[in-house]
């Protein structure tokens, strides 16, 4: 059965979720990606406040495609963006904002998954590319903050209904659906040093 998540979420609620659970969201969800993450961290480090309280909230890694008509904003396509791009900021962002769930695609690196366990936050995967399907569940654009960052990078405050299906892909028990694949990949990758040579530095000794 699909479980409904209605933010604000409590730590206890989030710590009950397990990888493979299918959930959906009803309520408020806020988009954020590279530039918004950086600005939020900068503000919070300086002891300033964000334009909205994200404690217990759900952040969606997304840069929506929307048009504005006389009734306000209409979402056309709003699927998830690659979450791993934000990995270097992820842990600090979660810690400082107090968000309890991230929605994105493609997964997080293993050390960030560990941080999620510590901080009590889950990662929910939505099917990448399914932008229209996501858009259908977005009922209202309540507010847009930080439009100076560009529309794709701004904070879109969305009211969603039955937003999903989402797969719990990283839980607070240290389970990471993506990690097992990384290990599998490593197992097929051959000897480490040669592999890294090829991957990172190209071949050093050229003819």
């Amino acid at each position: 059965m699909k479980k409904q998540l209605v933010p604000p979420l409590s730590e206890k609620q989030v710590r009950q979720l397990k990888v493979g659970d299918i959930v959906s969201i009803t309520g408020q969800m806020v988009t954020a990606r590279d530039k918004a993450y950086a600005r939020a961290i900068e503000l919070l480090r300086a002891g300033k406040r964000l334009p909205l309280d994200l404690r217990g909230g759900i952040v969606y890694h997304c840069g929506p495609l929307a048009i504005k008509n006389k009734n306000g904003w209409k979402i056309l396509s709003a699927g998830p963006t690659t979450s791993a791009r934000l990995d270097s900021m992820q842990a600090e962002f979660i810690e400082r904002t107090g968000v309890r769930a991230l929605v994105g695609k493609g997964g997080l690196s293993e050390n960030i998954a560990d941080a999620l366990t510590r901080l009590g936050c889950v990662y929910l995967a939505f099917t990448g590319g399914a932008g229209v399907l996501a858009g259908q569940a977005i009922k209202e654009v309540q507010k847009i903050f930080w439009r100076d960052l560009g529309d794709a990078e701004a904070l879109w405050v969305l009211r969603v209904q039955d937003f999903g299906p989402l797969v719990v892909a990283v839980d607070t028990f240290g389970n990471n659906l993506y990690a097992s694949k990384i290990r599998l990949m490593k197992a097929t990758g051959g000897s480490g040093s040669r592999r890294n040579d090829m991957l990172r530095n190209g071949r050093r000794r050229h003819p």
């Binding site: 495609l65 963006t81 399907l133 050229h206």
Partner: protein
């Protein structure tokens, strides 16, 4: 052509995704394919972009030697992209590479990319690929040693493996072997234009494609990286002759929303082909 590419997928891609759903065993994997197919249906019905990352358009132009154009093709394509950005609409994705200021039109310095090839006769064909950043960011170029033929497969698998769920698998994998550095990259991207149900005409390459596809699907990455047996929809390889002392191998991934379209000159009009 730009609308068609943004809002629908070619038949061969839809069929491949349907086959994946039918063959799926894992609950989470099947759910991903169901979402993809449901999304395609909605996008077609609403004529809305399949994915909010409407990508950057990459044009491949085959221009007949004997054809005289009474207009500027490049500026025509630029205008088309601007118009499509406004009317479909497409998300404005193009920025200055250093100061990151958005051009707001999807047109900028040297973009959209237009790769032109001269062909005999009076033909004019324009093929379009729509490339999102999630997949394009995993492009790789390896300059291997000529003796390292066996590393080609490993380079391809490492690229797919390292990318994991990030390029929105199951991906279409374009591989360019030989040529020079930039020729290999271009071949890898051009390989993505070939329909999934069309086998490689070169038998040796067809065998390699089959082998690489099977090996990639054994990586276990699965749809959207959530695990499963379908990591790639197909591997397409193109090759060119190269210097006796080099072996360039380029890899270019395309997400499952493998958007492409074609237009051909028929009489004195361009006709958009249903791919």
């Amino acid at each position: 052509m730009l609308r068609r590419a943004a809002t629908t997928l070619p038949k061969d891609v839809i069929e491949a995704l349907e086959k994946c759903r039918r063959r799926g065993r894992d609950k989470v994997a099947i759910l991903q394919f169901e979402c993809m197919l449901k999304n395609l249906e909605l996008a077609r019905k609403l004529s809305a972009p399949i994915c909010q990352d409407t990508g950057t358009p990459i044009f491949f132009v085959k221009l007949g030697n004997d054809l005289k154009l009474d207009f500027d093709l490049i500026s025509g394509l630029r205008k088309a992209v601007m118009e499509a950005t406004r009317s479909i609409p497409l998300r404005a994705n193009l920025v200055d590479p250093l100061n990151r200021v958005n051009t707001k039109t999807n047109v900028g310095d040297g973009m959209p990319a237009v790769h032109t090839e001269l062909v005999p006769g009076k033909r004019l064909q324009i093929d379009l690929l729509v490339k999102g950043a999630g997949a394009e960011n995993w492009s790789r170029l390896y300059m291997l040693r000529p003796s390292e033929r066996e590393l080609i497969e490993r380079a391809v698998l490492l690229t797919i493996g390292e990318a994991g769920g990030q390029p929105c698998p199951p991906t279409v994998v374009g591989v360019g072997i030989g040529g020079s550095a930039e020729v290999a990259c271009l071949l890898a991207k051009k390989a993505l234009l070939r329909p999934l149900d069309e086998p490689n005409k070169d038998r040796q390459l067809a065998r390699l494609e089959h082998r690489f596809t099977r090996a990639a699907n054994e990586l276990g990455i699965g749809p959207m990286g959530l695990g499963g047996k379908t990591t790639v929809l197909g591997v397409h390889i193109e090759k060119a002759s190269c210097h006796t002392a080099s072996l360039p191998v380029a890899i270019n991934l395309q997400c499952w929303a493998a958007r492409r379209a074609s237009a051909k000159l028929v009489g004195d009009r361009m006709r958009v082909e249903v791919p």
